[in-house]
Symmetry: C2
């Protein structure tokens, strides 16, 4: 268990969350503001290792659901979040003991930190993806037996929907329908689970990972002439199952964005001086990167776009024509790469006609 | 309080419910089967006058929600209805003391009778419309201060949605969205209220009214050469605020039906030997009848279509080209005709460019 007392740490976490967000998850800036306000008020987020949470604790995920392009236009309402927790406790007839992030990418990695600080609740150093994904059921929680529902959706006017469905894919469809009907972005509580469930099903250590990635980038800017390569060196030394590869170094030649059905679709094309091309397909997050037509990283592994000079991670919305970027492939956590997980969030679930191969096998070091 | 022990009474009630259903509400036949099965099992529906229900009783409306054309294809699942009541009691953390119909037209007038018999709960002799209407907020309950939510929607697979929204018009939109998303027809519990609320806001006496109308039609077939005129005579003598008029006597020259957005739209054209025409506009229910272009009955007053020979009431789905029918206008209950009610279910709420005028003033006796 550690407390986060420094604004620099929060800003590092937000930076790391954009990296793990794989282009999606929304700009964590509004989440960062929310956490910063808590720290200024003397309320520090407490990050607890999974083993520090009692087995019988009641744990939920609090997250925003909706199109990330709309998310950035909405400030987080502290009042609405507190009401959401209160309604969740009423539904389950018990107090929430700890929060956990549903995804460790973008704004949803910051929500629980701010809300946990506000409520004095620990936030578990873990999440359901180790990245961001576009669907509610695309979590290790769901794959290993937790259920996304009963879930609560609440809008800023206090309108409340609860959904209780056995199949998480169906839950996703119904929740998405309600999010669109209620205004394209909602806060919700998802995946009510026990402490034991969290330990068994979550991707562990991911809050600390955002902090360390964000810090590595910041420090590399001072210590190295090439922060992108310094970050790659850090990532490859950060754990035996962690593999990072530089996929491409070039300029954005084209980028298309479309918001449709409450979703963000698109493709980015990057070209270098030799005429090589990298394409990145977007379905809220980066789904697959192909170099000259050959897959170099594919879901659930993480594709990150970085400003070439500063190594600042960029969400898909931030990409602009002519921008000089580095594209990095980073291995998903082992729990996310097993067959039962790939059946839910592997390439074929994004309508790609290929099987998953890890970035370390697609690109030699 | 009276018990309904006779299958003939149930069949009379179903007939009367089609009359009050104003063309909509769905064929009560499946509901009639459900109630009949209870009576056969020795479980008799108990109909309680509003004043017999304690002020602090917990009362809910149980109803099917969705397109009536789909309703007739779905049998009522007793198991699903019992689960719906159980989930409603869990949500409100108290036992249901009595049931009330949301509408007294078509199948939703029979649901509570069967379920009340099954559970041993009284059904209040009253409802929220004294007829059928296409929208959840179009009730005297809502007009006089009750709320449609918190409501529970449950499908046959056990998928559950609850909605809790202050504005009943918004509740209708969200509930409709979920009904369509979950499969076009759902059972739900609506308008949780106290016994005192029921007495203050409901249209009273309407279960007994369906029984008496259905019985009057059946008896007129034996006693009279013209059951339609016998029914009119009965209706006009049945209460000082009740006015019935024969609007038209002719053959169906055209009838259009369309199911769109989970709704039933259409128009019926009736012509007589003199070349006079009556049109009936349909939005799930009959909304307005115009004789040679002039309005002769308009919502919330009731338009009923009857087989010309037998006076059997016909729903809009039953109308067929060439059929000989009588069209009757019948006054809505006084509580439904006040200004605050007309603002919610008067002609302008159905996009008609006219104000409400009662059938007794539109057509002289």
């Amino acid at each position: 268990m550690y407390e986060v007392t420094s604004q620099i740490d929060i800003s590092d976490m937000a930076r790391g969350a954009v990296f793990l967000g794989a282009g999606g998850g929304g700009d964590p800036y509004v989440g960062e503001l929310f956490v910063s306000a808590q720290i200024e008020a003397g309320r520090f987020p407490r990050v607890a290792a999974p083993h520090e949470i009692p087995d019988d604790a009641f744990v939920v995920s609090i997250a925003g659901m909706g199109a990330p392009t709309i998310l950035v236009e909405n400030l987080i309402s502290e009042r609405a979040l507190l009401e959401l927790v209160r309604r969740t406790e009423t539904l389950h007839n018990r107090k929430v003991d700890a929060l956990i992030s549903i995804e460790m990418g973008g704004v949803n990695s910051m929500f629980p930190l701010g809300l946990g600080a506000r409520l004095g609740l620990p936030v578990i150093d873990a999440d359901g993806m180790g990245r961001a994904f576009p669907h509610l059921e695309m979590t290790s929680f769901s794959v290993y037996g937790c259920r996304a529902s009963p879930l609560v959706l609440l809008d800023d006017l206090g309108s409340l929907i609860t959904i209780d469905v056995v199949d998480d894919r169906r839950t996703e469809e119904l929740a998405r329908t309600n999010v669109v009907a209620m205004g394209a972005l909602l806060n919700g509580s998802f995946y009510p689970m026990s402490g034991a469930d969290a330990k068994r099903t979550a991707v562990a250590g991911t809050i600390t990972q955002t902090l360390e990635i964000g810090r590595a980038i910041r420090e590399a800017r001072h210590a190295s002439a090439d922060p992108v390569h310094a970050l790659l060196a850090y990532l490859n030394s950060s754990g035996e199952n962690q593999h990072a590869r530089l996929l491409f170094d070039g300029k954005i030649a084209d980028v298309s964005h479309e918001t449709r059905d409450g979703w963000h679709w698109g493709q980015a094309l990057v070209r270098n001086a030799s005429g090589d091309e990298l394409t990145i397909d977007i379905q809220n997050e980066y789904i697959v990167a192909r170099r000259n037509g050959r897959t170099v990283t594919v879901v659930p592994d993480i594709i990150a776009t970085l400003d070439r000079e500063s190594a600042e991670p960029l969400t898909a919305e931030m990409l602009r024509y002519g921008q000089r970027i580095a594209v990095v492939g980073f291995s998903a956590a082992p729990i996310m790469r097993r067959a039962e997980g790939l059946a839910v969030f592997g390439p074929r679930k994004f309508k790609l006609d290929e099987d998953f191969v890890g970035v370390e096998d697609l690109v030699t070091a």
